[in-house]
């Protein structure tokens, strides 16, 4: 029986290089002309206005991790502690972006892209601080704890529910659909790479394998999101920190084995950040753009996703969660992304200009430690990526909940989120990456505009926090401390009770 025409069209669209090129071109226009200037300007503005909070309060970021969990009137824990919030956000950040994303950045933008990733992590640290502080300030008390995020501060801080709804819709398209597709795509690429199939000779087998992996991933996702088997999500999430540590250890081993090359690698990163490498098309602008895009995909600074998770934590001052999330950005980029960059730059001399994202990292590890690392990397990526798929689903669920509580809408969303994983597994990686980049730019733009408008509140909170620090106190914020603030629901004495 022939395939249905509409279904064949969808199939062709997902695997068409022309579609990938069109998406890439539109994304570059959006990023080059609008998103990139706004991301840099907002980051620099927040850095200046906060007095470089991301550097100045670095010791306090570490100290905040030791804060005890808050308790209710019966002495029971109200929510997760600051350290738990840090590990959860770090685990959700560490994923495909740190392994495949960095490889793609080096392939497209050269070693210099790594310098721009670092720079944007530092500048974006200030944006991350502001968005997560605002996420805490405007959080709401839900049935199972706190909830919040950009949609909430747009509604309650800016008084623009309509903007919150638009943001929530874009987040749903970005995270559970675009980013989850990307995670599934990378899992498929890693597994096909690990089993040693050749892209040209075994094309038919790779396609069949992609479908089989896609169906398996979609079924696993559906089992979790339809509420049947939450244990899968719990097991995956509990393994993620161990996988992240294992990956960092692998990277340290590779760097140690090639320690003599380290000065050369640093030299490449700094010199190529400003000097045009002939292997890269598009010049310095492309190096910068690639570094910023891949950096943002990985650390999510200013994107508007971290405040959704950060708002669920229970802390005594909103600034504390801002600091914890900034530390998360540093951990993600300066440690995990750097590990990937060093693995590749030490072991794959012709990575720049080559094709294939995660395959470059696989090749790097195989060159240094042997082919057995292909299977290990496949396991690590599977767990990191699948936990991100589940995390992305919950981001989407929270934002759908902001828009409507209609159960039919939620059922349709669950179904589409599962099918997005299937689609991502079988689509061409260029289509998926370019679509994700474009939609991520729109999401970041909306969030950055909102946090720029609300930044006076975050700055006032920072002043309140530092004043208490100067007096030698453990900072505590109550809504009554700033009576002029509107739209605040939490931050009563019962919300900041410590053990």
């Amino acid at each position: 029986m022939p395939r249905l025409p509409v279904v064949s069209d969808v199939m062709n669209w997902l695997q068409n290089e022309d579609v990938a090129t069109w998406l890439g071109d539109q994304g570059n226009v959006l990023w080059g002309n609008i998103v990139l200037p706004v991301v840099i300007a907002a980051g620099l503005y927040f850095t200046i206005r906060t007095g470089a909070v991301q550097l100045r309060l670095l010791p306090n970021m570490l100290k905040t991790l030791t804060d005890k969990a808050l308790v209710d009137e019966n002495g029971n824990k109200k929510s997760i502690s600051a350290f738990q919030a840090f590990t959860i956000s770090a685990a959700s950040r560490v994923g495909v972006g740190n392994i495949a994303g960095v490889a793609t950045a080096i392939a497209v933008g050269g070693a210099g892209a790594v310098f721009w990733m670092w720079t944007m992590a530092f500048i974006g640290g200030a944006s991350s601080f502001v968005e997560s502080t605002l996420g805490q300030l405007y959080k709401r008390q839900g049935k199972d704890g706190y909830r919040g995020g950009p949609a909430y501060y747009m509604q309650h801080g800016l008084g623009a529910r309509w903007l919150g709804i638009i943001f929530a819709i874009i987040l749903v398209v970005t995270f559970p659909f675009a980013f989850s597709s990307l995670q599934a795509n990378t899992i498929t690429a890693t597994i096909t790479g690990a089993v040693g199939l050749d892209a040209t000779a075994d094309a038919a087998q790779i396609t069949t394998l992609s479908w089989v992996i896609g169906v398996a991933l979609a079924v696993l996702t559906a089992l979790v999101v339809f509420g049947g088997v939450r244990r899968i999500a719990k097991v995956t999430e509990s393994l993620v920190p161990a996988m992240a540590v294992l990956y960092i250890v692998l990277g340290i081993v590779v760097v140690s084995m090639n320690i003599g090359q380290l000065p050369h690698v640093f030299g490449m990163i700094y010199s190529e950040a400003f000097n045009f490498n002939s292997a890269i098309g598009g010049g310095l602008g492309m190096v910068l753009l690639t570094g910023v895009k891949r950096g943002m995909f990985s650390n999510e600074a200013g994107l508007g996703s971290a405040p959704n998770a950060g708002a669920t934590a229970s802390v005594t001052h909103p600034v504390k969660q801002g600091l914890v999330q900034t530390l998360g950005v540093y951990f993600d980029t300066f440690i995990v992304c750097t590990v990937t960059a060093f693995i590749i730059l030490h072991t794959v001399p012709d990575a720049v200009g080559s094709e294939g994202g995660v395959a470059i990292t696989q090749l790097g590890l195989a060159n240094a430690l042997g082919s057995w690392t292909g299977t290990l990397l496949a396991v690590i990526i599977f767990l990191l990526a699948f936990s991100s798929v589940i995390g992305n689903y919950y981001y989407g669920e929270a934002n759908i909940g902001f828009i409507t509580s209609n159960p039919t809408v939620m059922t349709v969303y669950r179904l589409l989120a599962s099918l997005a994983v299937l689609g991502g597994a079988v689509a061409a990686s260029s289509v998926v990456w370019n679509f994700a980049d474009g939609i991520m730019g729109i999401m970041a733009l909306l969030n950055l505009v909102a946090i720029i408008l609300l930044s006076p509140k975050a700055l006032a909170l920072l002043k309140h926090y530092t004043a208490q620090l100067r007096d030698g106190k453990d900072p505590v914020f109550l809504a009554s401390d700033m009576p002029g603030l509107r739209g605040i629901e939490c931050w009563e004495p019962s919300d900041v009770r410590t053990q």
Partner: protein
């Protein structure tokens, strides 16, 4: 416009609340579509398992191909899952409909898109999904949810 969506949503919620408050809790008789769906899904489970068995037999008598074996394994797993979830329809499990719906759609899409010669099987799966969502089935499951 978005304000209108919010108001419409509030009206829907109130209507749902009224409906659940006035429900007598009496489960209606099993509709014909669901009677058919019960058997339909059991047969589908067997068909999936049958296809898997045939593929495995063909493979063992010819040169072994890892991806075909994987595909056969997937069909076999699908058959077991469909049969297990179909048993939920017999036990009037409220979640059986949503589980069979997502599983049916996830299985039908690849059969259409990649494995063209299994398109008929995909169509049968989609008919099975539709049987779960006929007006009478929706009414039945709504009553089941209220109990």
């Amino acid at each position: 416009m978005l304000g209108a969506i919010g108001r419409a949503h509030a009206v829907t919620l109130r209507r749902n609340n009224r409906a659940s408050a006035s429900s007598p809790g009496q489960l209606p008789e099993l509709p014909g579509a669901l009677r058919v769906a019960r058997w339909w899904w059991v047969v589908l489970g067997l068909v999936f398992a049958g296809f898997a068995g045939k593929l495995l037999l063909d493979e063992f008598s010819a040169q072994r191909n890892a991806t075909t074996l994987l595909f056969a394994g997937l069909l076999c797993a699908a058959g077991i899952a469909v049969a297990f979830l179909a048993s939920g329809l017999w036990r009037t499990d409220r979640r059986a409909r949503s589980h069979l719906t997502w599983l049916g759609l996830i299985l039908a899409l690849p059969l259409f898109l990649r494995f063209g010669r299994y398109s008929l099987l995909a169509l049968l799966v989609l008919v099975g999904v539709l049987l779960l969502w006929t007006p009478s089935s929706i009414k039945y499951f709504r009553a089941l949810h209220r109990r």
